[in-house]
Amino acid sequence: METDSARESGEEENGFTQPEIGDDDIDNVAEDFRDGLGLLSPKEKTMEERRNGTLDSDNDSDDNSRIRTVDENGNADDSSRIEVEEGQSDSSRIEVEEGQSDSSRIEVEEGQADSNRQIAEFSSENNNFVEGHKEISEAREHLEDDFSEQEIEVEAPTSPSSSGYAGGRGSSSAASIGSASGSEEIRDALRSGDGVTECFGNGNGEHRGQASWAHGKRYSNEDETSISWRKRKKHFFVLSHSGKPIYSRYGDEHKLAGFSATLQAIVSFVENGGDHIKLVRAGNHQIIFLVKGPIYLVCISCTEEPFQALKGQLELLYDQMLLILTKSIDKCFEKNSKFDMTPLLGGTDVVFSSLIHAFSWNPATYLHAYTCLPLRHSTRQAAGAILQDVADSGVLFAILMCRHKVISLFGAQKAILHPDDMLLLSNFVLSSESFRTSESFSPICLPQFNPMAFLYAYVQYLGVDTYLMLLTTDSDSFFHLKECRIRIENVLVKSNVLSEVQRSMLDGCLRVEDLPGDPTLPSDSLSFRLRRDKNLQVAGSSTGTGRNTGIGGPAGLWHFMYRSNYLDQYVASEFSPPINSRNAQKRLFRAYQKLHTSMHDKDVGPHKMQYRKDENYVLLCWITQEFELYAAFDPLAEKSSAITVCNRVCQWLRDVESEIFLLEASPLSW
């Protein structure tokens, strides 16, 4: 069952393969993005429980507090808007009213006063994105008229593939990063071929080896005129401030020069007014902009993910780029504003496509936390001790991981490793097949640690999925790191860590069915597994408080996810029926993501608790100083028993915390 769904997952957001409902059909539950923007009166939507500590289940009014989950008319929402990040004042925004009528307009309100406003008008026939794109083009032409005397560097929109791109490869590119360019396109095409397999790993939708995203650029023959390209549900673009394409998720970025120029014009139009563009809504599409100095990142999506979530994805995409090039890339643009960055990213498509794929399965992308491989406390300690040993010998960070999960890690004194850096680093290593072949020593940048400088990473696989990363600031220390690796490997083999890692990968993580009936039971090593048999018997009695549907855990608990706020680590239960298809997993992922966004909405929250119910699930989110808990239940689950079960989950996690979390990571506290 897993392999089939893996194929689907490879096709995620591919409008091609799913005319009906696919992975993004999460959305009969209408989402309200304005919510994410704080434009909607939010109180109608959420229930807050002010109490700390344990949840109370006896609050009758709770049932009324069910949030408005479905706005029947939501989809028919004709009003699109562009939201602009204000400069100093509160009042600046761009709005696009896009009704049935033929006239839409962009409205920019300037910071200081109403007087200073510019209006661009353009027409739209419908909400279709393709049309939206035309509109933008037209708007752009408009803008050019308006600002003809100003510097808007764009190519003619009518010739998407002739961009004057090759001219951009100047010797100035050699300035800070490298020398003249080569011819990599053919090469990339060559490499993006087949020769990779796809299959699913166990646990949390992680992927083993390479899935279809690992082919590097997909559909590179597409361009903005292709129907298939227009139908993609989620596009990511990176372009330079002069409008040169840098990266496109779909299609060959070189062929998208015209489209890139369009996006550039929109950004600069707004910037010329002293504002920053954040979001354009066009029908059911959102266009999200993120401006990072000379680099613009854009996401065009009809997946109905919240604005904040998509913006976070753009931030990660940018940081992934910094991990490869460092922020000194900005200097290339200072020297030559038409600098062409694509040659510098040669061969990295696979890194970005794997990150974008992670946006639809890896909770670390929005929880900003990492997850650990479950291990006996003593096993993890053995690994930690030897890592600490090498960290004391001049290694900045020593990180031992198994796929996306941390086995142990250690940093030199005062060195702080951010969970986002870990996510991007492991994504980089996992998606680049060449690390598997041999020892390697490569420059990488940890953007949260220091965006300006390269560190040097010694990377070596110690098993099929287990790899060691030793980071240093000293480019001459390869042989020292190599010796460290040999020492570490010896210890890990001797203390059976590597074989336990393999076993843990097979066993998976926490399962909702194993939730102990009696939270006061003493726990021993890997208790959540060893007690499994016992629990099967207890299960009948333990569901007295709730409704046992025969699947999932007690009280209809289907899944949970827990983030420790002290540790910046999270743990998620294994997916089990009925959340076993890839689509169901992705739907739940998106539901959590949405819940997470609304819980952290600065304008409304922070909330302590939220309880949502729709035809798919009951979702419960509970945030305290200590943790964030997300849980999904059978839609028919009773609220009171759901809350009881959440308390039991928390107790359970406390009991087994030394096995599921890395507790001795305190020197890395960030």
């Binding site: 990599e184 087949d194 510098l344 040669g346 072949t437 390697s440 020593f441 001459d476």
Partner: protein, 200 residues
């Protein structure tokens, strides 16, 4: 650096060349006897070591397979610094890669160890029908610049062992005084004494 022990020589060898020229493929063919039609582009640099017997001497090659991607060019000195030997690889079906190879030779002549043993490898000789670089031209260029030249194929293994053995053979042996590279040996030990790290 070549280090002389009791008939044991240890030498750092670096492979340079355009991306896709086949550096990793040559090393993998030599070290592991493998070839992959879809060899992944190298990141940073990969390290291998291989010991071979040349006459009575055992030569341990510490091989740095560098990445040809443009973003790594400015970091290349980190890998070729202190190398006793270099193989500059180009793809015979790609003229640009030959141009690039010449640039690497120039850079090594300027920055590298003056006594470095250098080889020019015209790789993918199995695709001779698509060749864009004449072997004569490459040979003449190599001779003029003090390199030895071979056409190789990582795919068919043609000339791969020969290439690495020839490097090993040309490395300075137990007669440091007669061989100019003897100076370099001294450098290396001095470096070792200064610091325990010895990537250079």
């Amino acid at each position: 650096m070549a280090t002389v022990g009791n008939k044991n020589v240890q030498a750092k060898l670096v492979l340079l060349g355009d991306m896709g020229a086949g550096k990793s493929s040559l090393v993998l063919r030599f070290v592991k006897g493998q070839f992959f039609a879809y060899q992944e582009s190298t990141i940073g640099a990969a390290f291998f070591s291989q010991t071979l017997a040349v006459n009575e001497t055992s030569v341990k090659l510490e091989i740095w397979d560098t990445a040809g991607q443009e973003r790594y060019h400015s970091l290349a000195p980190m890998y070729y610094r202190g190398a006793a030997a270099a193989i500059i690889v180009y793809d015979i079906t790609n003229l640009d890669s030959f141009v690039r190879a010449k640039k690497w030779v120039q850079e090594l002549q300027k920055q590298g160890n003056p006594n470095m043993v250098m080889a020019l490898a015209g790789n993918k000789s199995d695709m001779i029908e698509k060749s864009k670089v004449s072997p004569e031209e490459a040979k003449v260029y190599a001779q003029e610049n003090g390199l030895f030249f071979m056409e190789t194929s990582a795919k068919t293994a043609q000339n791969v062992n020969e290439l690495f053995y020839e490097i090993a053979r040309r490395l300075p042996k137990a007669e440091p005084v007669q061989h100019p590279a003897g100076m370099v040996l001294a450098d290396r030990s001095a470096e070792r004494a200064r610091s325990s790290s010895c990537c250079s």
